[in-house]
Symmetry: C2
Subunit: 460 residues, 2 copies
């Protein structure tokens, strides 16, 4: 075994600049996981850091002909183990392919390499008066390539959609090293199958994305923000439905549930009114959204909530601080298991209440905050990883949350992806025919099963 692994590294050094092939066990270990908890990790044989599409193609040609698994990686900030090493794999890091190649303001598109950090790109286009909406919470560290691989979401999805909605075309290296170009630069196009969408969200299991053409839009105006305080979940959820069916389009509509709110308050006093149990936050980001704040405060009042409109951008940020500090507040309590179910908006109340009941049943703290406007919540389970019983209960609660999501007509993942964490659950969501089609596509595009094996789809 060792000899064959050593040979892989030696062989890779023959097709790549030798310094791009790393075998130091400490470096490999440091690159073997993403941010997911409780996911299996294997032992890789090498980390490669190509600088060009040609180098990526050389790695895949080698890997395919030698049947060596390849795990594509961006910033490894994912939450489903999609970037975790598998045994005997080549970790293929795209972090050195990190150039913004073009920002075309007139056609409102940009061309980037996959390793560009989302925040760097967003700031670069903002400097040209433009806006790239996808804003996963990880945006300061995650890469556009990683966002494409997982079809990342964010706070602004409720108005602007997910990453896929902003991708015009891709350059993809296929399993056998061929370089495919999908999509086009134009605003519309229906020539052939939608290969772009097939690769977006496929988590490196169908090909390795080496180039991305994004759509852009003109910069939004500075956001207006409002907050509302409710005595219970039901009235807050009714407010969400009222706002979303009123005809306005908020650019953010977040909910902090009672459990999350209690933890945030221990962390810092935000001066919320007494009796507040659930909080909603809303933003409108331009002159085209004048009705949002009114619709929100009106709906909150109708449902018995008390609301405040921020006096300017600065105060708006302060309002959002409670939402943003939940992760920090929970991290102080222990290890976190992040879930990501999405349900039809009218089932939001049942989801939040049901998650609370699951926390009680399994004796674990579960905050259930998230993107209420989309019905996409992030139940976050706190547990002591050193306590085997608590870890087991956390895992059982995690499964119960996904079962609840499916029972409410929802999906096991709204934006984090499947990775290894949910590959078993994906089979339940897809059913036998859907699973069969997934396997057919995987087998057709990666016949030797070298691309991120065991991710999205369990080995078959």
């Amino acid at each position: 075994m060792t000899t064959s692994l050593d040979r892989t590294a030696a062989d890779l050094r023959a097709v790549l600049p030798p310094a791009s092939v790393i075998t130091d066990p400490d470096v490999l270990a440091a690159h073997s996981n993403d941010h997911a908890s409780l996911c299996a990790t294997g032992i890789p044989v090498a980390l490669v850091r190509p600088r060009s599409t040609d180098e990526v193609a050389a790695v895949l040609r080698y890997a395919d002909s030698h049947r060596v698994p390849v795990v594509p990686q961006g910033a490894r900030s994912g939450l489903s183990g999609g970037a975790n090493a598998v045994d005997g794999s080549i970790l293929l890091s795209l972090e050195r392919m990190n150039e913004i190649l073009e920002i075309d303001a007139e056609n409102q598109i940009a061309r980037v390499e996959p390793g560009v950090i989302n925040a760097d790109f967003s700031r670069a286009v903002a400097g040209r008066g433009l806006f790239y909406p996808p804003d996963p919470s990880s945006w300061e560290m995650s890469t556009i390539g990683g966002n494409v691989a997982t079809n990342a979401g964010g706070l602004c999805c409720v108005k602007y959609g997910v990453t896929a909605d902003w991708i015009r075309g891709l350059e993809v290296v296929l399993a056998d090293g061929q370089v495919l170009r999908t999509g086009r630069d134009t605003a519309k196009g229906v020539a052939g199958y939608d290969l772009t969408r097939l690769f977006v969200g496929s988590e490196g299991t169908l090909g390795v994305v080496t180039g991305i053409t994004t759509a852009l839009r003109p910069a939004a105006q500075a956001p207006r923000t409002a907050i509302a305080f409710f005595g219970d979940i039901d009235t807050a959820c009714a407010t969400v439905t009222d706002v979303m069916t009123s005809g306005v389009r908020p650019s953010l509509l977040e909910l902090i549930d009672p459990v999350g709110l209690a933890e945030v308050r221990k962390h810092r006093d935000f001066g919320f009114p007494p009796g507040t149990d659930t909080v909603l936050l809303v933003q409108a980001d331009g002159s085209d959204d004048d009705g949002v704040i009114d619709a929100f405060t009106t709906a909150a009042a109708r449902n018995g909530g008390e609301s405040m409109v921020a006096d300017g951008v600065q105060e708006g940020r302060l309002f959002l601080a409670a939402r943003r500090s939940i992760g920090l507040a929970l991290e102080k309590l222990g290890s976190l298991l992040n879930d990501d179910v999405c349900v039809p908006r009218t089932r939001l109340r049942e989801l939040v209440r049901g998650v609370g009941e699951i926390g009680t049943r399994y004796g674990v703290t579960i905050a259930c905050t998230g993107h209420a406007g989309d019905g996409n919540m992030h139940p976050t389970i706190v547990f002591d990883a050193a306590d085997a019983d608590q870890t087991r209960r956390a895992q059982e609660a995690f499964e119960a949350v996904m079962a609840l999501g499916l029972r409410l007509g929802g999906t096991i993942t709204g934006e984090h992806g499947v990775g290894v964490l949910k590959a078993g659950w994906l089979e339940r969501e897809l059913g036998p025919v859907g699973l069969g089609v997934h396997r057919t596509l995987k087998s057709a595009l990666d016949p030797n099963r070298i691309l991120n094996p065991g991710k999205v789809l369990r080995e078959f």
Copy 2:
């Protein structure tokens, strides 16, 4: 041969209600074409009109096991020959599966059968205060299933996107008769590969769509309309770019080119100012779009155009009448060959000018009107189908237009689809690797090549 064809019909009558299987040659002939010109048509063996998913599955199971080609059909209003019969095929009409199953106002989704007419559906959701944006010009006759098959566009794409952007999930009968459900009811979801998008726009070559879940949005407000008159194409195109980069989102931005305008004027006097050579039309459809009309009139003035804002919805309709009457005006002149290229918006001027030059070179009239805001134009070639030389020149001009579109960084089809009309050109647009992936997917999902063979992809 006749015996085998007769057997197909007899066999189909054993798996479907006999009245759903039609073999009358006149009926078959009437169902053998869509609205495309100059496309090959074969001789079918039967027309079947199933009423349920189970019946569609029975047809496909039979066809797959007996290697009989199947041509799925909606209203046959397509413009690329995608619904044309192929020799020995079963024409599979979905027109009897035409129920609106559910309109869920709170979650803003609807469930429909594929044979529902777009206009019927749009009116039904409007009656609930909701809006289904996709509005192909054929909307009074085309079906939602046909719109899904071709990923149809329309006038409002510039703000609301194409059909695919409004499809949450599908029920698809696969080649072997298995019933697949793709997508979900939720606003977001990244569980597995995006099968919904793979089937949308695949023109019946990968499966037969038998159920559709659409997204809806709250009804837009009554549109405001403006028109602007220019002395040449260049200043009109500069105005398009100025409007689209100004930060506003028109819900319609159409251009009438000099050739189209001349024909429309022969048809009817619209009282346009003297010296008008090119016309732009814009709409804004709500309170969220107050800046559109201002941005349009300002940009028009800056580029030397003269503009008028409609006084109410009624006058707005009058402004649009010129655009809508182009088809009628051209039909009076002869047969029409409709093209549908889409270029990056900044290349619009070159496209319209280039199409004019192609008309001159080949001695045919080509109007080049269309969805300027998206760079998606419909060069329409007028020819006398009884004149072989003119027909040949029309065809050559048609090819020259597509070559021009590709040269300008565009696509051969922005919204009409590939069908048989452009299957050869698709190969040029995709290139060998892209074509290879298309063939791989087709072979994987339809190994016996029974589904609409020769459409999108030439036989291989």
